[in-house]
């Protein structure tokens, strides 16, 4: 950012929070939070997942009711008990998971819940005339009668912002707005934020990404475990200072990885065609080769076939055409269980629905793929001593923090749950590990631990495929990066010969010969 550092002198407080307390059963989500947002600033709320940022803003927006404290809007105390009340005060919020209804049009989404002057008639044409100027100003190039489900994520976000402004928002809360965006969409969003600020809109920008906060905000408030750690002027701080404030200790942000020559192709998928459950084609002639001792990153916008590819590799979904080779053997029709025994293992995308059986113990979850094999079972009888010893070893080796391995895995934190899956996948030194979103929703410490273990597996000769929506994570971890678009691999390149912009361009459907070139600096992974 250029220009002088942001100054609060002479500015009016748009929003002031005093000693806000919000409790959930067993959790103190906001612990006496003080926060002042000045008119016309972009104020970042920075913190790890679960730090209480979204909760705080949902209290402001009237979705949650505070258990204590005061909310002042433009100097006046208000008891905001519903989103309607917040909107009446000029507060709008764009949620992390968009609050748009895919099956109805843009304009219907924008006027939903509002009364036209001829209520109960909708009068969409008249509303459309008023929205069009905003839409054009923000570069929303879609007819207002388009169903929202047909829009790209970036466009949907614009609809959300327009929806809030149409309802008279002067203070706009953006909850993790970049989590779902492509790099170039993020650029566009930042320009839009600048435009809004120039137009006098105050913005609260919730994020856990340091680089974005540094780029876009005037001031930053760091939260940790429901409390405000400190508020800083962005231009007077540094990534290290912010990271330390977030985590509470100095953290090593970079993934340490020694260059290492890759081995022979271990798992190869050739000319693969497959459909998803709804019958739409998801793999359209995809080919990909995972090599021993190499981390292969797969970048792509969600829904371009990543899920189907992983299912096909694991034998959870049949191919219509094409074949899969494991160590030069055709395993196309081999069932999942045999693949796992052969050493092809998998960290699924959703640890709650696919990765774990939440109601079973840590021990049972650690043994989920082998519990009926010796030595864990003999002639159908489970061998509890062997199992317990195994669980004890793994919980220690993978630093799984649990009161006891007999505890239901449901009771563990997200990071420890993910470690259970990691331990189950890695303890037998697999030949191939396919990991989807291995660190989604985890805090910096747990993510760093998992990254370290993935790199160790690579050093021991495992072939890894990492599918992640965090491009930073893919770039930091991978030796080779492939970009998937509409069920095909657009390009595969060594990480050192590609960069964030090029990958983003290809993810959006651009042609490789037109993509921006350049090299990736050995960028540290800023989570």
């Amino acid at each position: 950012m250029t220009g002088p550092a942001f100054s609060t002198t002479g500015r009016e407080a748009a929003l002031e929070l005093r000693q806000i307390v919000k409790k959930f059963p067993g959790v103190l989500a906001n612990d006496r939070v003080d926060l002042t947002i000045y008119t016309g600033e972009v104020h970042a709320l920075l913190g790890e997942n679960g730090a209480g940022k979204s909760t705080l803003m949902k209290v402001v927006y009237g979705l949650y009711h505070r258990d204590g404290g005061e909310i002042l809007v433009r100097g006046q105390p208000y008891d905001i008990r519903s989103p309607q009340a917040a909107m009446a005060l000029g507060i709008g919020m764009v949620h992390q998971h968009f609050m748009l209804i895919p099956n109805i049009s843009i304009i219907e989404n924008i006027v939903l819940g509002l009364r036209s002057d001829r209520y109960p008639l909708l009068r969409l044409d008249e509303a459309g005339r008023r929205v069009r100027a905003l839409a054009e100003d923000f570069g929303l190039n879609a007819a207002l009668s388009t169903k929202v489900g047909k829009l790209t994520v970036g466009q949907q976000q614009k609809v959300e912002i327009i929806k809030a402004l149409y309802r008279g928002a002067r203070l706009l809360i953006l909850d993790e707005p970049t989590a779902v965006l492509l790099p170039q969409e993020t650029e566009e969003l930042f320009k839009l934020i600048e435009k809004l600020r120039a137009g006098g809109v105050t913005i609260v920008f919730i994020s856990h990404k340091l680089n974005e906060v540094l780029k876009i905000s005037d001031r930053v408030t760091v939260m940790r475990r429901g409390r405000v750690v400190r508020t800083l002027t962005t231009r007077q701080t540094s990534p290290a200072e912010l990271a330390e404030a977030m985590v509470g200790q100095a953290v090593d942000l970079a993934v340490v990885k020694q260059p290492r020559p890759a081995g022979a192709p271990r798992l190869v998928i050739e000319d693969a065609y497959a459909r998803d459950d709804l019958g739409s084609p998801k793999l359209n002639g995809l080919r990909l080769a995972l090599r021993a001792g190499e981390i292969h990153g797969l970048a792509g916008v969600d829904g371009n076939g990543q899920q189907t590819l992983v299912e096909a590799l694991m034998g959870l979904r049949g191919l219509e055409r094409g074949r899969i080779l494991f160590a030069d053997q055709d395993i196309t029709s081999q069932p999942t269980a045999e693949r796992i025994r052969a050493g092809v293992v998998h960290i699924p995308e959703n640890r709650h629905t696919e990765g774990l059986v939440l109601g079973l113990s840590v021990t049972d979850n650690l043994l989920l793929d082998v519990f009926e094999d010796p030595p864990y079972a003999q002639r159908g009888w489970r061998q509890f001593k062997v199992m317990d010893a195994h669980a004890a070893t793994l919980t220690q080796a993978f630093d799984i923090r649990t009161p006891s391995p007999a505890v239901e895995v449901r009771k563990l934190s997200g990071g420890n749950q993910q470690k259970v899956i990691l331990a189950r996948s890695l303890w037998r030194n697999p030949a191939v590990l396919i990991a989807m979103q291995p660190t989604r929703g985890l805090d910096v410490g747990a993510a760093a631990f998992i990254h370290k273990r993935l790199v160790e597996a690579r050093d021991q000769g495992c072939a890894l495929l990492i599918v992640s929506s965090e491009l930073d994570e893919i770039i930091a971890l991978s030796d080779v990066i492939s970009v998937i678009y509409e069920g095909r691999i657009v390009e595969t390149r060594p990480t050192s010969e590609t960069n964030l912009n090029r990958i983003g361009f290809l993810m959006a459907g651009g042609q490789p010969d037109q993509a921006p070139t350049g090299r990736t600096d050995a960028a540290p992974l800023l989570t």
Partner: protein, 352 residues
Amino acid sequence: MTRPPGFYAAGRPRARLVWAGAGLAGALGLLLAWQTELGRGILTILAAPEFVRAALIAATPLLLAALGGLISELSGVLNMALESMMLLGAFAAYTASDYGHTPWAGLAAAGVVGLLVGLLHAYFTITLRANQIVSAVALNLFALAATALGFRLIYTRGVFITAPGFAELRLPVLSDLPYLGKALFSHNILIYLALLLIPVMWFILYRTAWGLTLRSVGEHPEAASTVGINVNRVRYLAVLLSGAVAGMSGSALVSATNINAFQENLSAGRGFIAFAAVIFGRWNPIGVFFGAFLFGLGDAFQIRLQAYGVGVPYQLLLMLPYVITLIALVVFMRHARGPAASGTPFAEEGEA
């Protein structure tokens, strides 16, 4: 890029071929049928205006029940209790027209009873967040037993007491049209009202804020909630209204018996057919009409077959409309997609 032939377009040319084949087979079948005496008899039945007339009469209770079901389902509450609303509505309609000496008293009573059943269903599924299917099953079983008991208690003399029915309303000019006049324009007033409800509901659903609110609550209650819509209040109103409309289907059912009478289990599963008609109609009032009419055609057809005497046990013929519905669901509904939040209770903050 090279695409394997037929990979993307797999559905289209093949579907066209299937339709052409079906058309050809149908034409051939008609020709063949005409050669036999039985075939000629059946084709004559199908060509008579009375056939469409009877189909419309049989379809009306389903149409009302399905339109009622539609309101509830669009709001995100499955209404498989349509059967109970129809049956209790029919019993109320019959008794009230009998004692009140006018079918309008019956219609009003049916609406009120349906509304009360709707209130129960809403209380179970929205307030108590009970499973929507379980609540419906309980209500359906209750209705079957309660109407049977009530009927025997009130009408001890026996069955087939005729209650006052709706008079036939012959629309001027239109009812003199050949074929159409008899088939479409000389019905009792309830049938016109039911048909009129289709465009009315379409307008409310797609042109008013109420309709948008209703649809949003069924698709994405959290989103509706963030713009200040009280999701559970909307759902309550929707289920109540659904009950009232579906209850009135009982009145149409009584008048569809021709003699305005009641008997045990008069609805005989039609509420479930109405439930299916909502799906068949892809959650749209116009589509719902076609679902109901399809069943009506089947019903009218099987009654005529029975009268004609085709030498098939009548129990098999009775199955016909249900079988047609089943086949229609299998053929057309493979990718039917309803309101996204259908069947899921909505919890406000802290209630979960």
